[in-house]
């Protein structure tokens, strides 16, 4: 699920220095924001719909035991199988055992965040099966051994030329296949269709599950979600336990919100609702023989019982990424987690512990834009602050995030700051030092560990007179004395 977390600042540095990434992000973020704003206007009262969406999510989670149980019974009544996976290992084991038991040789996948979280592909390959990602962007990521950088647009960090080169090298595309994006898309269709026709098992994510009917809903624009759940004889649907709504009417509210918030569409092209496997007895001509639903907990129930439960309202639209001034600059990879952006900055430390991901809640200016655009009005800044507070109480984080010299330095500062005479003297001495180092009033480079300050900006030298000196000069006479008196009393 992650790259080495200790290198967060390094990844940020790389991202900011990557001109190509910066260009791609500028283009994509502006477009996604514009389409979202335009499409929300097509609701007669988008605020009312958002409030309703929030109420549905909040209520459902507050009775999650009830709704998951109802969902399970209804899936089973329609001939499907449900498994509750308490840990990531439980989920991986279930899917791999199933693949082995059914003699699965090839697997097609449509986009699923949960399987990324589990790093399922590697485990499945170990059973001897081949796995093909079928979402165009996810396929590129798989061929290149890269990671998705956005929830909705996984390869915004790739150019057309990069993809062309990759197709040529990895899957034998000819120059003719690569003349323009539609040709490349047609090439992908042909190549991936062969994988679909061969596959024994299709693994999909789940956007929402409906408790009252036992249905899972999978939204894709490309149609790979439908092929994955129709052509192979076994369909495995992987969902987080929080991805549930009580009724089809509730689902409609969420879907109308999801399309608009994610890509500015009124509905995703293929909104696919699946209720059990193919009903052959009734005469349905196609569809999978078996349906397995894996409900993944993997830390979610713990989140549910704590201060960060609200993050589970998330419907994975990506709007908070697109609006976030930090994400806009650093992109998805810098977060070092499957779930990037503001939502990831809460979800990742929430699911996997603050110790390894303590930088993420700090990768935010707390401007509140994410809360503003969130279709279910999640108060992300509140939870970021909560996590920052938590980090200060975690000895492991304190040890890691604050190096010894800094801790000693801060202790020394405290000792000095409590002694006014010494403090004034140190201030004057520091000022002199700074003026000696400065050129035209600016310091271009500070020595040692202080160099971080001047890495991307100049540091102004201290003025010749300290604040205290100027205060005393300006308030000479009665005023100053009066001040002193009132300060003393």
């Amino acid at each position: 699920m992650s790259v080495a977390p200790a290198t967060f600042y390094k990844r940020v540095e790389e991202a900011i220095g990557d001109q190509r990434l910066q260009g791609a992000l500028d283009l994509a973020m502006a477009r996604l924001q514009a389409t979202r704003s335009a499409s929300l206007k097509t609701f007669p009262d988008s605020d009312a719909v958002r409030d309703q969406a929030r109420r549905i999510r909040a209520h459902t989670l507050s009775r999650l035991d009830h709704y998951l149980d109802e969902f399970t019974r209804n899936v089973e009544a329609k001939g499907g199988t449900v498994f509750y996976a308490h840990t990531a290992a439980d989920a991986v084991r279930y899917v791999c055992d199933l693949a082995r038991a059914k003699g699965v040789q090839s697997v097609v996948k449509s986009k699923s965040m949960v399987t990324e979280e589990l790093e399922l592909n590697g485990y499945l390959e170990a059973t001897g099966a081949t796995i093909v990602e079928t979402d165009l962007g996810e396929w590129v990521v798989q061929l290149a051994h890269d990671h998705p950088s956005h929830i909705v647009a996984p390869i915004i960090h790739w150019t057309r030329e990069d993809v062309a080169k990759l197709f040529k090298k990895e899957v034998g595309a000819t120059d003719e296949d690569l003349v323009d994006v539609p040709q490349m898309t047609a090439f992908a269709r042909r190549t991936l269709r062969r994988a679909f026709l061969q596959a024994d098992m299709g693994i999909s994510g789940v956007n929402f599950a409906i408790a009252s009917t036992g249905s899972v809903t999978i939204c894709t624009n490309e149609g790979n979600g439908r092929l994955t759940t129709t052509l192979p004889r076994i369909h495995v649907a992987m969902m987080g336990i929080e991805r549930i709504v009580p009724t089809p009417e509730d689902l409609a509210i969420m879907l109308q919100m999801l399309g608009r918030s994610a890509t500015g569409q009124k509905l995703t092209v293929y909104t696919n609702m699946l209720t059990g496997p193919r009903r052959q007895q009734e005469g349905e001509p196609d569809g999978p023989e078996e349906l397995h639903v894996v409900m993944l907990d993997n830390g979610r129930s713990k989140l549910l019982g704590g201060e960060l439960g609200e993050i589970l309202y998330c419907i994975r639209c990506g709007a908070c990424l697109n609006i976030c001034p930090v994400y806009q600059e650093i992109g998805g990879h810098a977060y070092g987690s499957v779930y990037p952006g503001p939502v990831g900055a809460v979800l990742t430390p929430g699911l996997r512990g603050i110790a390894d991901f303590h930088e993420l809640p700090n990768a935010s200016s707390l401007c509140g834009a994410c809360r503003e655009v969130c279709p279910v009005r999640i108060d992300i800044p509140r939870m970021l602050l909560k996590l920052r507070e938590e980090a200060t109480h975690d000895p492991q984080v304190v040890a890691k995030a604050t190096p010894l010299w800094l801790r000693m330095g801060l202790r020394g500062y405290r000792w000095m700051a409590l002694r006014p005479g010494l403090f004034r003297f140190a201030g004057r001495a520091g000022g002199v030092m700074m003026r000696l180092m400065a050129r035209d009033g600016w310091i271009k480079k500070l020595p040692g560990p202080l160099g971080g300050w001047t890495q991307s900006r100049d540091f102004p030298a201290a003025p010749a007179k300290s604040f205290t000196q100027r205060w005393q000069e300006q308030h000479k006479g009665g005023q100053a004395k009066q001040q002193e008196r009132s300060a003393r009393s």
Binding site: Q52, H59, H86, M273, P285, S301, G306
Partner: protein
């Protein structure tokens, strides 16, 4: 789900919920959202023409094509014309009873009379037979289905799977033709589930809303169509 697995799930969740703090959570299931008057008037289906106009406008914007026709005869003629354009006489599609169930009886007979044939679509359950069957269906250029409903707001068609109603005819083919009765139009997905309890009950293993042709913008945010599903969608409005 084994009893142990269910018990584990319920125990874990109930434990967590004891200390949960979920802003805006109500003990009762939130009541349905009532839309504005304009919407309610539309949803009640009194103004089919307005709904149809909106449907055509929306689908047109997504590069889907609509053909208003006045009879099943005209619908068959339109389908025959499209078949000719794509140079085929064999269509992957729903059977006669399925078209009857959506209020378009006699369509298949009329197509047969025009020299078109429907390809049998029963896919074997497993093994090589399944693979061979799917591989055989794959090159067919045209799929023909009905639609159980239309969503005017988004230009979507709604299809349920069932006997004689395969999923492949709207999925595998490069070009999809659907026949939709105009009186089956509602405004939005919310209205569909409220006004059509038969569909809200999920009558088949698959209920799908299709909104325009298959599309992707993964590469440089450049739109291209037909990446996995049909690149063209033609809706005949009866």
């Amino acid at each position: 789900m084994t009893p142990e697995n269910r018990e584990q799930m319920l125990r874990v969740l109930r434990d967590s919920l004891k200390s949960a703090n979920l802003p805006a959570a109500t003990p009762e299931h939130p009541a349905s959202l009532v839309y504005s008057d304009e919407r309610t008037a539309w949803s009640s289906g009194t103004d089919i023409d307005t709904l149809t106009m909106r449907f055509r406008k929306e689908l047109d914007a997504l590069a889907g094509v609509t053909y208003p026709v006045e009879s099943v005869d005209e619908a068959a003629a339109q389908i025959a014309e499209l078949a000719q354009r794509f140079d085929t006489t064999r269509l992957l599609g729903w059977d006669a009873a399925a078209f009857e169930s959506i209020g378009v009886p006699g369509l298949i007979d009329r197509l047969t009379a025009r020299g078109l044939s429907m390809v049998a679509q029963q896919v074997p359950f497993s093994g090589d037979a399944r693979r061979d069957c799917l591989t055989g269906l794959d090159p067919l250029p045209l799929g023909l289905t009905g639609a159980d409903a239309g969503l005017a707001e988004s230009g979507s068609i709604v299809l349920s799977s069932g006997p004689g109603r395969g999923r492949l005819a709207s999925l595998m083919v490069p070009v999809h033709i659907a026949v939709l009765r105009r009186d089956r139009m509602v405004f939005a997905l919310s209205d569909l589930f409220r006004l059509r309890p038969d569909l809200a009950a999920m009558p088949g293993s698959n209920l799908v809303c299709i909104t325009g042709p298959s599309r992707t913008a993964d590469i440089e945010m450049t739109l291209s169509r037909g990446v996995h599903g049909p690149r063209e969608i033609h809706v005949i409005l009866l």
